[in-house]
Symmetry: C2
Subunit: 154 residues, 2 copies
DNA sequence: CCTTGCGTTCGAGCGCGCTCAAACCCCTAC
DNA sequence: GTAGGGGTTTGAGCGCGCTCGAACGCAAGG
Protein backbone atom coordinates (compact mmCIF):
# COMPACT_ATOMS: atom_id res chain seq x y z
CA UNK A 1 0.00 0.00 0.00
CA UNK A 2 1.35 3.36 -1.04
CA UNK A 3 2.33 5.55 1.89
CA UNK A 4 -0.19 8.26 1.00
CA UNK A 5 -2.96 5.86 0.09
CA UNK A 6 -5.20 7.16 2.86
CA UNK A 7 -4.79 10.73 1.69
CA UNK A 8 -5.62 9.77 -1.85
CA UNK A 9 -8.63 7.89 -0.58
CA UNK A 10 -9.81 10.92 1.38
CA UNK A 11 -9.30 13.03 -1.69
CA UNK A 12 -11.23 10.63 -3.88
CA UNK A 13 -14.07 10.28 -1.44
CA UNK A 14 -14.37 14.01 -1.13
CA UNK A 15 -14.08 14.48 -4.86
CA UNK A 16 -16.62 11.92 -5.93
CA UNK A 17 -19.42 11.62 -3.41
CA UNK A 18 -21.08 8.52 -4.75
CA UNK A 19 -24.80 8.53 -5.33
CA UNK A 20 -25.82 6.30 -2.49
CA UNK A 21 -23.27 7.18 0.18
CA UNK A 22 -24.17 7.60 3.78
CA UNK A 23 -23.01 7.36 7.36
CA UNK A 24 -20.49 4.75 6.32
CA UNK A 25 -18.61 7.18 4.12
CA UNK A 26 -18.87 9.94 6.67
CA UNK A 27 -17.18 7.77 9.25
CA UNK A 28 -14.54 6.90 6.70
CA UNK A 29 -13.92 10.56 6.01
CA UNK A 30 -13.94 11.32 9.70
CA UNK A 31 -11.30 8.78 10.58
CA UNK A 32 -7.84 10.27 10.95
CA UNK A 33 -5.99 7.03 11.20
CA UNK A 34 -3.11 7.57 8.85
CA UNK A 35 0.16 9.26 9.57
CA UNK A 36 0.89 10.02 5.93
CA UNK A 37 0.99 13.71 5.11
CA UNK A 38 1.73 15.90 2.14
CA UNK A 39 4.05 18.83 1.74
CA UNK A 40 2.75 21.97 0.11
CA UNK A 41 3.91 21.09 -3.39
CA UNK A 42 2.22 17.70 -3.32
CA UNK A 43 -0.96 19.07 -1.83
CA UNK A 44 -1.05 21.82 -4.42
CA UNK A 45 -0.59 19.33 -7.22
CA UNK A 46 -3.38 17.08 -6.02
CA UNK A 47 -5.77 19.93 -5.33
CA UNK A 48 -5.09 21.70 -8.59
CA UNK A 49 -4.08 25.02 -7.09
CA UNK A 50 -0.77 26.78 -6.53
CA UNK A 51 1.24 26.65 -3.31
CA UNK A 52 0.71 30.41 -3.16
CA UNK A 53 -3.01 29.85 -3.07
CA UNK A 54 -2.74 27.21 -0.39
CA UNK A 55 -0.76 29.60 1.80
CA UNK A 56 -3.29 32.29 1.08
CA UNK A 57 -6.19 30.06 2.08
CA UNK A 58 -4.48 29.24 5.33
CA UNK A 59 -3.65 32.89 5.95
CA UNK A 60 -7.26 33.94 5.67
CA UNK A 61 -8.39 31.15 7.95
CA UNK A 62 -9.98 28.69 5.55
CA UNK A 63 -7.86 25.84 6.82
CA UNK A 64 -5.47 25.05 9.63
CA UNK A 65 -2.27 23.31 8.67
CA UNK A 66 0.33 21.78 11.00
CA UNK A 67 4.07 22.34 10.72
CA UNK A 68 6.92 19.88 10.89
CA UNK A 69 10.13 20.36 12.83
CA UNK A 70 11.55 22.59 10.09
CA UNK A 71 8.44 24.77 10.11
CA UNK A 72 7.20 23.36 6.81
CA UNK A 73 3.49 22.75 6.29
CA UNK A 74 2.20 19.20 6.59
CA UNK A 75 -1.18 18.55 4.99
CA UNK A 76 -2.98 15.73 6.75
CA UNK A 77 -6.29 14.11 5.82
CA UNK A 78 -8.54 16.64 7.59
CA UNK A 79 -6.69 19.54 5.99
CA UNK A 80 -6.92 17.90 2.58
CA UNK A 81 -10.61 17.24 3.00
CA UNK A 82 -11.21 20.81 4.05
CA UNK A 83 -9.27 22.06 1.06
CA UNK A 84 -11.15 19.83 -1.32
CA UNK A 85 -14.35 21.32 0.01
CA UNK A 86 -12.97 24.84 -0.17
CA UNK A 87 -11.69 24.53 -3.71
CA UNK A 88 -14.91 22.96 -4.84
CA UNK A 89 -16.95 25.74 -3.33
CA UNK A 90 -14.63 28.34 -4.79
CA UNK A 91 -14.82 26.79 -8.23
CA UNK A 92 -18.57 26.75 -7.98
CA UNK A 93 -18.71 30.42 -7.21
CA UNK A 94 -18.97 30.72 -3.43
CA UNK A 95 -17.19 33.87 -2.35
CA UNK A 96 -14.19 33.81 -0.08
CA UNK A 97 -16.07 35.72 2.58
CA UNK A 98 -19.01 33.30 2.55
CA UNK A 99 -16.58 30.45 2.73
CA UNK A 100 -14.83 32.05 5.68
CA UNK A 101 -18.15 32.40 7.41
CA UNK A 102 -18.96 28.76 6.76
CA UNK A 103 -15.67 27.38 8.01
CA UNK A 104 -15.79 29.66 11.03
CA UNK A 105 -19.09 27.99 11.85
CA UNK A 106 -17.66 24.55 11.15
CA UNK A 107 -14.70 25.23 13.43
CA UNK A 108 -16.82 26.71 16.19
CA UNK A 109 -17.41 24.85 19.42
CA UNK A 110 -21.17 25.32 19.43
CA UNK A 111 -23.73 23.56 17.34
CA UNK A 112 -23.89 25.55 14.14
CA UNK A 113 -25.35 22.83 11.98
CA UNK A 114 -28.61 24.58 11.20
CA UNK A 115 -26.89 27.76 10.07
CA UNK A 116 -24.48 25.80 7.92
CA UNK A 117 -27.43 23.90 6.51
CA UNK A 118 -28.99 27.18 5.50
CA UNK A 119 -25.80 28.18 3.72
CA UNK A 120 -25.60 24.84 1.97
CA UNK A 121 -29.22 24.98 0.89
CA UNK A 122 -28.71 28.46 -0.47
CA UNK A 123 -25.57 27.42 -2.27
CA UNK A 124 -27.40 24.45 -3.72
CA UNK A 125 -29.98 26.80 -5.17
CA UNK A 126 -27.25 29.03 -6.54
CA UNK A 127 -25.59 26.04 -8.13
CA UNK A 128 -28.81 24.90 -9.72
CA UNK A 129 -29.50 28.24 -11.31
CA UNK A 130 -25.87 28.53 -12.36
CA UNK A 131 -26.12 25.20 -14.10
CA UNK A 132 -29.33 26.26 -15.76
CA UNK A 133 -27.62 29.46 -16.92
CA UNK A 134 -24.69 27.56 -18.32
CA UNK A 135 -26.93 25.10 -20.09
CA UNK A 136 -28.71 28.03 -21.70
CA UNK A 137 -25.38 29.44 -22.76
CA UNK A 138 -24.35 26.04 -24.07
CA UNK A 139 -27.56 25.73 -26.05
CA UNK A 140 -27.04 29.19 -27.50
CA UNK A 141 -23.46 28.37 -28.40
CA UNK A 142 -24.38 25.09 -30.04
CA UNK A 143 -27.18 26.83 -31.86
CA UNK A 144 -24.76 29.39 -33.21
CA UNK A 145 -22.34 26.67 -34.22
CA UNK A 146 -25.09 24.82 -36.05
CA UNK A 147 -26.14 28.02 -37.75
CA UNK A 148 -22.63 28.72 -38.98
CA UNK A 149 -22.41 25.20 -40.30
CA UNK A 150 -25.70 25.51 -42.14
CA UNK A 151 -24.81 28.89 -43.56
CA UNK A 152 -21.54 27.43 -44.68
CA UNK A 153 -23.39 24.75 -46.60
CA UNK A 154 -25.62 27.20 -48.50
CA UNK B 1 -49.21 45.09 -30.57
CA UNK B 2 -46.90 46.71 -28.07
CA UNK B 3 -44.55 49.22 -29.58
CA UNK B 4 -41.43 47.30 -28.55
CA UNK B 5 -42.84 43.90 -29.43
CA UNK B 6 -40.16 43.29 -32.02
CA UNK B 7 -37.39 44.04 -29.56
CA UNK B 8 -38.90 41.72 -27.01
CA UNK B 9 -39.19 39.06 -29.68
CA UNK B 10 -35.54 39.48 -30.62
CA UNK B 11 -34.64 39.24 -26.97
CA UNK B 12 -36.71 36.12 -26.48
CA UNK B 13 -35.35 34.43 -29.57
CA UNK B 14 -31.83 35.19 -28.53
CA UNK B 15 -32.52 34.13 -24.97
CA UNK B 16 -34.23 30.85 -25.71
CA UNK B 17 -32.82 29.26 -28.83
CA UNK B 18 -35.37 26.49 -29.29
CA UNK B 19 -34.16 22.97 -29.81
CA UNK B 20 -35.03 22.63 -33.46
CA UNK B 21 -34.41 26.12 -34.74
CA UNK B 22 -32.80 26.80 -38.04
CA UNK B 23 -32.46 29.20 -40.93
CA UNK B 24 -35.97 30.41 -40.25
CA UNK B 25 -35.06 31.79 -36.88
CA UNK B 26 -31.81 33.19 -38.18
CA UNK B 27 -33.68 35.18 -40.79
CA UNK B 28 -36.06 36.36 -38.11
CA UNK B 29 -33.18 37.46 -35.96
CA UNK B 30 -31.50 39.03 -38.94
CA UNK B 31 -34.47 41.15 -39.93
CA UNK B 32 -34.25 44.74 -38.73
CA UNK B 33 -37.73 45.74 -39.67
CA UNK B 34 -38.90 47.55 -36.61
CA UNK B 35 -38.34 51.15 -35.69
CA UNK B 36 -38.90 50.58 -31.98
CA UNK B 37 -35.84 51.19 -29.84
CA UNK B 38 -34.95 51.22 -26.18
CA UNK B 39 -33.26 53.83 -24.06
CA UNK B 40 -30.43 52.81 -21.81
CA UNK B 41 -32.57 52.27 -18.72
CA UNK B 42 -34.99 49.99 -20.56
CA UNK B 43 -32.23 48.05 -22.24
CA UNK B 44 -30.44 47.61 -18.94
CA UNK B 45 -33.61 46.35 -17.29
CA UNK B 46 -34.30 43.81 -19.99
CA UNK B 47 -30.72 42.61 -20.18
CA UNK B 48 -30.28 42.36 -16.46
CA UNK B 49 -27.26 44.62 -16.23
CA UNK B 50 -26.69 48.20 -15.11
CA UNK B 51 -26.63 51.21 -17.43
CA UNK B 52 -23.05 51.67 -16.27
CA UNK B 53 -22.22 48.26 -17.63
CA UNK B 54 -23.94 48.94 -20.93
CA UNK B 55 -21.92 52.11 -21.39
CA UNK B 56 -18.80 50.20 -20.44
CA UNK B 57 -19.49 47.48 -23.00
CA UNK B 58 -19.93 50.08 -25.66
CA UNK B 59 -16.79 51.91 -24.60
CA UNK B 60 -14.66 48.82 -24.97
CA UNK B 61 -16.13 48.06 -28.36
CA UNK B 62 -18.42 45.13 -27.62
CA UNK B 63 -21.38 46.85 -29.23
CA UNK B 64 -22.16 49.88 -31.32
CA UNK B 65 -25.12 51.96 -30.24
CA UNK B 66 -26.76 54.80 -32.15
CA UNK B 67 -27.69 58.15 -30.65
CA UNK B 68 -30.87 60.17 -30.94
CA UNK B 69 -31.05 63.90 -31.56
CA UNK B 70 -30.31 64.63 -27.94
CA UNK B 71 -27.24 62.40 -27.97
CA UNK B 72 -28.97 59.70 -25.94
CA UNK B 73 -28.32 56.04 -26.73
CA UNK B 74 -30.96 54.16 -28.71
CA UNK B 75 -30.77 50.38 -28.51
CA UNK B 76 -32.18 48.80 -31.66
CA UNK B 77 -32.71 45.11 -32.38
CA UNK B 78 -29.16 44.35 -33.62
CA UNK B 79 -27.68 46.07 -30.58
CA UNK B 80 -29.97 44.16 -28.26
CA UNK B 81 -29.13 40.87 -29.92
CA UNK B 82 -25.45 41.58 -29.66
CA UNK B 83 -25.84 42.46 -26.00
CA UNK B 84 -27.81 39.33 -25.29
CA UNK B 85 -24.97 37.36 -26.79
CA UNK B 86 -22.36 39.34 -24.90
CA UNK B 87 -24.06 39.03 -21.54
CA UNK B 88 -24.64 35.34 -22.05
CA UNK B 89 -21.02 34.75 -22.89
CA UNK B 90 -19.92 36.88 -19.96
CA UNK B 91 -22.19 35.02 -17.58
CA UNK B 92 -20.82 31.77 -18.88
CA UNK B 93 -17.28 32.81 -18.19
CA UNK B 94 -15.89 34.10 -21.46
CA UNK B 95 -13.41 36.85 -20.70
CA UNK B 96 -13.90 40.39 -21.89
CA UNK B 97 -10.79 40.19 -24.03
CA UNK B 98 -11.94 37.00 -25.75
CA UNK B 99 -15.30 38.59 -26.35
CA UNK B 100 -13.64 41.65 -27.83
CA UNK B 101 -11.69 39.43 -30.14
CA UNK B 102 -14.82 37.61 -31.18
CA UNK B 103 -16.89 40.70 -31.89
CA UNK B 104 -13.98 42.29 -33.72
CA UNK B 105 -14.08 39.28 -35.99
CA UNK B 106 -17.83 39.46 -36.30
CA UNK B 107 -17.67 43.15 -37.20
CA UNK B 108 -14.84 42.69 -39.66
CA UNK B 109 -15.37 42.98 -43.39
CA UNK B 110 -13.63 39.74 -44.27
CA UNK B 111 -14.88 36.24 -43.82
CA UNK B 112 -13.94 35.31 -40.28
CA UNK B 113 -16.45 32.52 -39.84
CA UNK B 114 -13.95 29.75 -39.39
CA UNK B 115 -12.01 31.56 -36.71
CA UNK B 116 -15.21 32.42 -34.89
CA UNK B 117 -16.26 28.81 -35.21
CA UNK B 118 -13.06 27.79 -33.49
CA UNK B 119 -13.78 30.16 -30.64
CA UNK B 120 -17.32 28.89 -30.33
CA UNK B 121 -16.20 25.28 -30.33
CA UNK B 122 -13.64 26.02 -27.67
CA UNK B 123 -16.18 27.87 -25.60
CA UNK B 124 -18.60 25.00 -25.97
CA UNK B 125 -15.98 22.68 -24.51
CA UNK B 126 -15.32 25.11 -21.70
CA UNK B 127 -19.03 25.28 -20.98
CA UNK B 128 -19.35 21.52 -20.91
CA UNK B 129 -16.55 21.09 -18.43
CA UNK B 130 -17.86 23.99 -16.37
CA UNK B 131 -21.25 22.31 -16.19
CA UNK B 132 -19.60 19.06 -15.20
CA UNK B 133 -17.67 20.89 -12.47
CA UNK B 134 -20.81 22.53 -11.16
CA UNK B 135 -22.69 19.26 -11.18
CA UNK B 136 -19.92 17.75 -9.11
CA UNK B 137 -20.13 20.66 -6.71
CA UNK B 138 -23.88 20.27 -6.59
CA UNK B 139 -23.57 16.57 -5.85
CA UNK B 140 -21.07 17.32 -3.11
CA UNK B 141 -23.32 19.95 -1.63
CA UNK B 142 -26.39 17.74 -1.71
CA UNK B 143 -24.35 14.96 -0.21
CA UNK B 144 -23.32 17.21 2.64
CA UNK B 145 -26.89 18.35 3.13
CA UNK B 146 -28.07 14.76 3.27
CA UNK B 147 -25.34 13.91 5.73
CA UNK B 148 -26.30 16.74 8.04
CA UNK B 149 -29.89 15.62 7.89
CA UNK B 150 -28.97 12.03 8.74
CA UNK B 151 -26.67 13.09 11.55
CA UNK B 152 -29.45 15.24 12.86
CA UNK B 153 -31.73 12.23 13.02
CA UNK B 154 -29.31 10.11 15.04
C1' DC C 1 32.05 25.23 3.33
C1' DC C 2 28.91 26.38 -0.03
C1' DT C 3 25.51 25.72 -3.42
C1' DT C 4 20.91 23.98 -4.54
C1' DG C 5 16.32 23.39 -3.59
C1' DC C 6 12.40 23.67 -1.13
C1' DG C 7 10.25 25.82 2.19
C1' DT C 8 8.90 30.03 5.42
C1' DT C 9 6.62 35.09 6.50
C1' DC C 10 4.81 39.37 5.30
C1' DG C 11 3.48 43.16 2.68
C1' DA C 12 2.76 44.85 -1.70
C1' DG C 13 1.10 44.53 -6.41
C1' DC C 14 -1.93 43.21 -10.08
C1' DG C 15 -5.57 42.05 -13.54
C1' DC C 16 -10.27 41.81 -14.19
C1' DG C 17 -14.66 43.76 -14.59
C1' DC C 18 -17.05 46.72 -13.41
C1' DT C 19 -18.66 51.05 -10.68
C1' DC C 20 -18.65 55.66 -9.52
C1' DA C 21 -18.17 60.77 -9.64
C1' DA C 22 -17.85 65.19 -11.66
C1' DA C 23 -19.17 68.28 -14.88
C1' DC C 24 -22.10 68.86 -18.20
C1' DC C 25 -26.52 68.70 -21.46
C1' DC C 26 -31.35 68.47 -22.68
C1' DC C 27 -36.29 68.16 -22.14
C1' DT C 28 -40.58 68.59 -19.56
C1' DA C 29 -43.66 70.34 -16.03
C1' DC C 30 -44.89 73.64 -12.91
C1' DG D 1 -37.57 80.81 -15.30
C1' DT D 2 -36.31 77.06 -12.84
C1' DA D 3 -36.36 72.53 -10.69
C1' DG D 4 -36.17 67.73 -11.66
C1' DG D 5 -35.11 63.75 -13.96
C1' DG D 6 -33.22 61.65 -17.41
C1' DG D 7 -29.12 61.33 -20.20
C1' DT D 8 -23.85 62.27 -21.81
C1' DT D 9 -18.36 61.89 -21.41
C1' DT D 10 -14.19 60.96 -19.13
C1' DG D 11 -10.98 59.41 -15.86
C1' DA D 12 -10.43 57.48 -11.56
C1' DG D 13 -11.48 54.11 -7.99
C1' DC D 14 -12.61 49.71 -6.08
C1' DG D 15 -13.34 44.84 -4.49
C1' DC D 16 -12.05 40.36 -5.31
C1' DG D 17 -8.87 36.74 -5.43
C1' DC D 18 -5.05 35.74 -6.02
C1' DT D 19 0.12 36.35 -7.20
C1' DC D 20 4.53 37.92 -6.51
C1' DG D 21 8.88 39.38 -4.35
C1' DA D 22 12.19 40.03 -0.81
C1' DA D 23 14.53 38.33 2.87
C1' DC D 24 15.18 34.55 5.28
C1' DG D 25 15.66 29.22 7.22
C1' DC D 26 16.93 24.55 6.90
C1' DA D 27 18.85 20.16 5.16
C1' DA D 28 21.21 17.36 1.77
C1' DG D 29 24.95 16.67 -1.68
C1' DG D 30 29.46 17.61 -3.75
Amino acid sequence: MEPDEALRRALRLAVDPPAGVSIEAVRELARDDDASEWNIATAAKHLGVSPHTLRYYERIGLVRVARDAAGHRRYDAPAVRRLVFVTRMRVSGMSISDLRHYVDLADAEQDTVSERMDMLLEHRDTLRSQIAQLQLALAATEYKIATYQEVHQL
